[in-house]
């Protein structure tokens, strides 16, 4: 087996045993990126030199018998939504195409400190808004299982790079399903931790009360390893949970006794692809065979989750993205052209005697903002900013934003009730498998409805994981979603590991020419 086929856990074993060096491992993945990424397009930037430098440093310390961090020289890819000091961080947006942060996100710092080798930054939907990575302004990412299909999103590059063996571990972010859905589409393991488990400091905000960073990997064991490296309280993030972080890599292997699994009635209704349903029901049987008891639970407000989400997330986004105005960093329009344009508009108003038009004209500063943002931001980002501005604006706040916050509590209460009966909630990650590129780009609402099974976890703040549980007849991966009560990531990982011990879906790799 070549190095790139190994899991991070196995690579670590070989590294500590001295069978292989981090430079060799890193080079192997860099080579794979070199050959496979032309087709997949998972990376926006590859930091070859600094990765090899970091790897050599780990090797020399290991050789000298000095301490080596938890990730011990294994490469990690970072979604380009996390700030990396001195390395361009784009959010897949023209707005930030040349933005070089002067600081590291806490998660990036922790990965460096744990000796994870930062191999590159992965593609995504612009500002994490989307579910197919088609909203990237900087590149196209394809699903390694079928290059005509989308990898999912927004962490499409993060999922695709693991699926195509270009990185053993990668960091994704999940605001409404952006880790779990691409993990499902690409046949990898992706965990969205409980809100607050992982610091958001340095994660470029989409929707602050929903965003969460999480690990993507081939196995639950590897996801546990990466989660252990990145989780923990951070004084720089006021919403970071002030609780001790378990050693997930140590506990992931312990099987769960008497596991009670709940199937959400509402997750098996209209819109669910029959093949996906059948596969998920098979997966449930695996758990049954492992001694779990299965029962039905209800999340009665689930049908309001999408509407709630598409009020709260755009509202927060409209404010979070106000900073991209072309003043302190980011794209600014051509000022000369802009001034000329304004002069032409003024002349036209004057000639037609349009007093109101003249009065309402933008100042050059306001036009600079509007033009810079119009040029720097893509259509989906604009749509959500507009939507969020509308739902927060005078006269609509109570009907939309405040209402959504109340329904959000009801959604959370549904979970609390369900988790009195069961340990985990299990169901499909997505209603169907990865769709063809371009299939949904003209209809934003239909794209939004894809998030039906994933957004509730973000609204409620609970953790969720997607693991491979089978394939469609067309050869596309199908994801099984497990959700757990707040801060029960250990259970999610243990249950996932149990499944992966009993099945081999997670070991399958796409064949790239």
């Amino acid at each position: 087996m070549s190095l790139i086929q190994l899991t991070a856990t196995d690579l670590l074993k070989k590294l500590s045993a001295g069978e292989v060096t981090s430079v060799e491992v890193t080079q192997a993945f860099l080579d794979q990126i070199e050959s496979a990424d032309k087709q997949v397009g998972a990376f926006l930037s590859v930091t070859k030199d600094s990765a090899l430098e970091q790897a050599a440093d780990v090797d020399s310390r290991r050789k000298a018998g000095k301490p080596v961090g938890l990730l011990g020289g294994v490469p990690v890819a970072i979604k380009d939504l996390l700030c990396t000091k001195g390395q361009v961080t784009t959010c897949a947006s023209k707005m930030l195409e040349n933005f070089i942060p002067p600081y590291d996100a806490t998660v990036v710092r922790k990965i460096r400190e744990a000796d994870g080798v930062l191999i590159g930054k992965t593609n995504m939907d612009e500002f994490a808004m989307g579910g197919s990575t088609e909203n990237s302004a900087l590149g196209k990412t394809s699903n390694p299982w079928n290059l005509d299909c989308v990898p999912g999103g927004s962490s499409g590059g993060a999922a695709a790079c693991v699926a195509a063996s270009m990185a053993p571990l990668s960091i994704g972010t999940d605001t409404g399903g952006s880790i779990r859905q691409p993990a499902g589409f690409c046949g990898v393991t992706g965990l969205k931790p409980t809100y607050g488990r992982v610091s958001r400091f340095g994660l470029i905000a989409f929707a602050s009360s929903l965003d969460q960073i999480g690990p993507m990997a081939r196995t639950a064991e590897d996801a546990a390893l990466l989660l252990e490296a990145i989780s923990g309280h951070d004084p720089m993030d006021s919403t970071s949970a002030n609780v001790a972080s378990p050693q997930f890599s140590q506990t992931v292997g312990k099987p769960l006794e008497g596991l009670r699994i709940g199937l959400v009635k509402e997750h098996f209704g209209d819109g669910l692809d029959s093949e996906v349903e059948a596969t998920v029901r098979e997966a449930v049987k695996v758990y049954q065979s492992l001694g779990a008891t299965i029962s039905d639970v209800s999340l009665p407000h689930n049908k309001y989750a999408i509407a709630t989400y598409y009020i709260i997330a755009p509202s927060e986004a409209s404010s979070n993205l106000a900073r991209y105005d072309g003043v302190h960093y980011g794209h600014r329009c051509d000022e000369k052209q802009m001034i000329e344009q304004l002069a032409a508009e003024k002349k036209a108003f004057e000639e037609s005697g349009d007093e109101e038009g003249l009065r309402n004209m933008d100042t050059s500063l306001v036009r600079m903002y509007r033009q810079s943002r119009a040029e720097g931001l893509g259509p989906e980002v604009k749509r959500r900013i507009m939507l969020g501005t509308y739902t927060l604006s005078a006269g609509y706040y109570d009907a939309y934003y405040l209402k959504a916050l109340k329904v959000r509590r009801l959604i959370r209460q549904d979970y609390d009730t369900a988790f009195k009966e069961v340990d985990l909630i299990v169901g499909p990650t997505t209603p169907s498998t990865a769709f063809k590129t371009g299939a949904k780009t003209d209809d934003p609402l239909s794209m939004y409805l894809e998030d039906l099974y994933t957004v509730s976890a973000n609204l409620a703040g609970v953790g969720g994981i997607s693991i491979p549980c089978g394939f469609s007849t067309t050869g596309m991966p199908i994801g099984l979603q497990l959700q757990a009560p707040p801060l029960a990531e250990e259970k999610l990982l243990q249950a996932s590991h149990m499944f992966q011990q009993a099945t081999d879906w997670h070991t399958r790799r796409p064949e790239l020419s």
Binding site: N98, F99, I100, P102, T194, Y195, G196, S209, L210, P235, S238, T239, A241, N242, H301, K303, Y304, A307, Y310, I311, A322, D325, G326, V327, H328, Y329, G330, H331, R332, T363, S364, L365, V366, Y369, R370, R373, A374, L377, K382, R383, I385, M386, L387, T389, Y390, T391, S393, A399, K403, L405, K406, R408, R409, L410, P444, L445, Y448, N458, L459, P486
Partner: protein
């Protein structure tokens, strides 16, 4: 259509986005359909339900009032599209 073109134009100014005529037409249609969809929430009874602002309820997160090193100025200004050695530049705030 739940939104008019004028509504959308007003929101575009509030959002500091300049939309072309074509974009305004498409945006009006798309936003209207999304607004119609999210209006679904009006059927939920939320009497006596407290709004949930944070996913995890936490209180009293403070930092001590101790000065940390600021960024060197050249780093603070490094990403600015227009600047001099000391300051960020924008088109005249006063004036026209």
């Amino acid at each position: 259509m739940s939104l008019s073109r004028e509504d959308v134009e007003k929101v575009s100014l509030l959002s500091r986005l300049k939309l072309s005529e074509d974009e305004l037409v498409v945006m009006t249609d798309q936003m209207s359909r999304i607004i119609d969809y999210i209006d679904l929430l009006s059927e939920v009874n939320t009497d006596d339900v407290e709004p949930m602002t944070h996913a995890v309820e936490q209180f009293n997160v403070f930092a001590d009032d101790v000065v940390h090193q600021s960024l060197p100025r050249d780093e603070a200004l490094a990403n600015a599209p227009k600047r001099d050695d000391e300051c960020f530049h924008v088109p005249a705030v006063l004036g026209d």
